[in-house]
Amino acid sequence: MKQGKKRDNWGSRLGIIMAVAGSAIGLGNFLRFPAKAATNGGGAFMIPYFVSLFLLGIPLMWIEWTLGRYGGGFEHGTAPGIFHSIWQKNRFIKYFGVIGIFGPLVIFIYYTFIESWTLAYSFFALTGNYSAITEQSAMQGFLRGFQGLEHNQYFNGLGTAYIFFLITFALNIWVIYYGIKGGIEKLCKWAMPLLFVFGLILLFRVVTLGTPDLSRPELNISNGFGFLWNPDFSALKSARVWLEAAGQIFFTLSVGIGVILTYASYLSKGDDVVLSGLTAASTNEVAEVILGGSIIIPAAFVFFGQADLQAIARSGVFNLGFVTMPLVLNKLPLAAILGFFWFFLLFLAGITSSVSLAQPAIAFLEDEFDINRKKAVSIFGVVSFLLCQPAIFFLGRGVVDELDFWGGTFFLVLFATIETVLFVWVFGMDNAWDEIHKGADMRIPKVYKFIIKYITPLFLFIILGMWFWQEWLPIIFMKNISCADRPFIVATRIGLAVIFLTLAALVRIAWRKKKLQGEKIR
């Protein structure tokens, strides 16, 4: 970036805290967490969950905030430039940083479509489109019809879903167009409190459900909470439960994506990252454990009972959110309003995450190519719109699952491992510790110096190794993919490789251009 060109910045500390919390609080807080907790030991799940939060999640949060602010000081807002600033002697490290743009872009291209379902269902709740449905199979049919996976009495194709996708996509681009302070910060400062208001209303409604069916007194709200919270200590002996908890912490805090790096790059050198990072993480935890853990599972237990709920929780998070929850709310007075609150809460959680996913690619164009925001957003809008199409039209062929695996799981853990090693072992722990505390409003307990240096990287290597061996190899070799879907999966992988190589080529072009212009890249 040429000297004197001013980068965007945050308008207030609360603004960046809300934006990072908004990025972290997503659909997973309300759907994935309760399902994971209920099926992995209930209350006992919270032991590995908190261990992972304090040994993995919060340290990674601090690492990313610090790396982002450090890179922002050299006018780099994305991982290629930030990694280069940390390890200037290594000319390849910037290419590892490509993951920090690739990951969020890939997540964005399927996440926006899923986010648009929540907007559509908010509308359906108010208009009563699904209000007459009382059976799981019929509600499942409504969802599949909406997704364009089957033609039925509810939907005759993908048209409705596509209209809501267009609205959602346009809203995202509109917010991003107005930049960090004027767009993202403004959105998050009203969307986050509104999300909590909706969440608290739903929580209150669920807590006051009592025993709706007096002929089945065991189906009461206390037992509903018990389903989620009664501990099964035998689960703690399973390595899988510990991995699930670590994974949940990883995904819920939005670490390893590259988004926090970019957001923090808009801070000034003297701005605190310790307290702000911890505040954003704890806000996410309130949304996840208190709101997420108190709405869908207890409410579904009261109406469906333990056996059905176990099957529902294992059948996937979309069933919980888009099939079970509307059925539960349909049984209550003011179902339309409560349904709207539920789905609009999910929409707010979604849009505050999706705008953050778009930001790294835009920051990359702005910072490394000197492109103004308007043009960068236009390029991003056109490219990402085209990239969204396979996720929409080939949803039933496993394209979204494939994109989620590479963008939202595999590269995420890999990226977190790279940035942690870089921060702790290349930058040096003493430098890192000083950098974290620049402008800090609180001191991190000294034990974290040991945790960040040894425990967090070790934790990451264990996750990386175990997941690779146990879960990823069958996915990579397409073990559970039907023959009919394989061409679509292969095509998706080729597409992803092309995106990655294009981004790597753009990094190369940007660095060469700067070199030719005689700019010193730091």
Partner: protein, 34 residues
């Protein structure tokens, strides 16, 4: 919900609400970013 369930719920909520409250109190008592 059994007694252990209540213990886990109370302790988990306590840790999270406590942490979030302390953080926000500290944030609002300190200087704003520009």
């Amino acid at each position: 919900m059994n007694f252990s369930g209540w213990v886990f719920l109370t302790v988990s909520w306590g840790i999270i609400i406590g942490l979030a409250s302390l953080c926000f109190i500290k944030v609002f008592s300190k200087k704003e970013v520009k």
